[in-house]
């Protein structure tokens, strides 16, 4: 069974601070995705990383896939209250059928 562990589980910071969320696994995934979920809504895809060592940037968000394709990180620069939400990482199996989600990191950015 492939498992993904996210850390930290909860994070409360002030507006303008930087933060990093980690997603770790003992298994190799063909690719890994990051989602953001708000209360009462489904997860919304932020990015997919495929190649080991890959780095992708989405405005103030930087995503990195580990060289061995077992772990990933999400770094947010100068966090804003609008970044508040549940951040989920999800690994895709080799058949591309099933997402294995981490437990999520709940981020609160205070003004």
């Amino acid at each position: 069974t492939q498992l993904l562990e996210q850390s930290p589980q909860f994070l409360s910071i002030q507006e303008g601070e930087n933060l990093t969320v980690y997603c770790n696994s003992s298994s190799v995934f063909s690719s890994l995705q990051w989602y953001r979920q708000e209360p009462g809504e489904g997860p919304v895809l932020l990015v997919t990383v495929v190649t080991g060592g890959e780095v992708k940037k989405l405005k103030r968000l930087t995503f990195q896939f580990g060289d061995a394709r077992k772990d990933s990180s999400l770094h947010i620069t100068a966090a804003q209250p609008g970044d508040t939400g549940l951040y989920l990482c999800a690994g895709i199996d080799n058949a591309g059928n099933m997402l294995t989600f981490g437990g999520g990191t709940r981020l609160m950015v205070k003004p």
């Binding site: 069974t1 993904l4 996210q6 690719s31 995705q33 009462g40 809504e41 489904g42 997860p43 919304v44 895809l45 997919t48 989920l88 999800a90 895709i92 058949a95 591309g96 059928n97 099933m98 997402l99 294995t100 989600f101 981490g102 437990g103 999520g104």
Partner: protein, 115 residues
């Protein structure tokens, strides 16, 4: 362009009852996956339907069953409900087999409460 739609949005049932949840995929999508998200946790894969057949199944008991219709819409059925089945049930659609399978679009979910 309509996204993924799920119904109902909220549902309250009692232990032992049966429930049916419904999902209409994003226009142009032919594959539907169902996920269960317990409070404070990440979603867990239940199963995926393509061409009206179950392609893959997660670690869920046979009480969880599904169906996909010719118009690609899908239903999730849960029999003999347990208190632990209380969760947000998410439907996600994608397109197979063009290689876009990785691009999942989620609905807003059905919040099921079992009393």
């Amino acid at each position: 362009d309509a996204g993924v739609t799920q119904s109902p949005t909220h549902l309250i049932k009692t232990r032992g009852q049966q429930v049916t949840l419904r999902c209409s995929p994003k226009s142009g999508h032919d594959t539907v996956s169902w996920y269960q998200q317990a409070l404070g946790q990440g979603p867990q894969f239940i199963f995926q339907y393509y061409e009206e057949e179950e392609r893959q199944r997660g670690n869920f008991p046979d009480r969880f069953s599904g169906h996909q219709f010719p118009n690609y819409s899908s239903e999730l059925n849960v029999n003999a409900l347990l208190l632990g089945d209380s969760a947000l049930y998410l439907c996600a659609s994608s397109l197979l087999p063009t290689g876009d399978n990785e691009k999942l679009f989620f609905g807003s979910g059905t919040q099921l409460s079992v009393l």
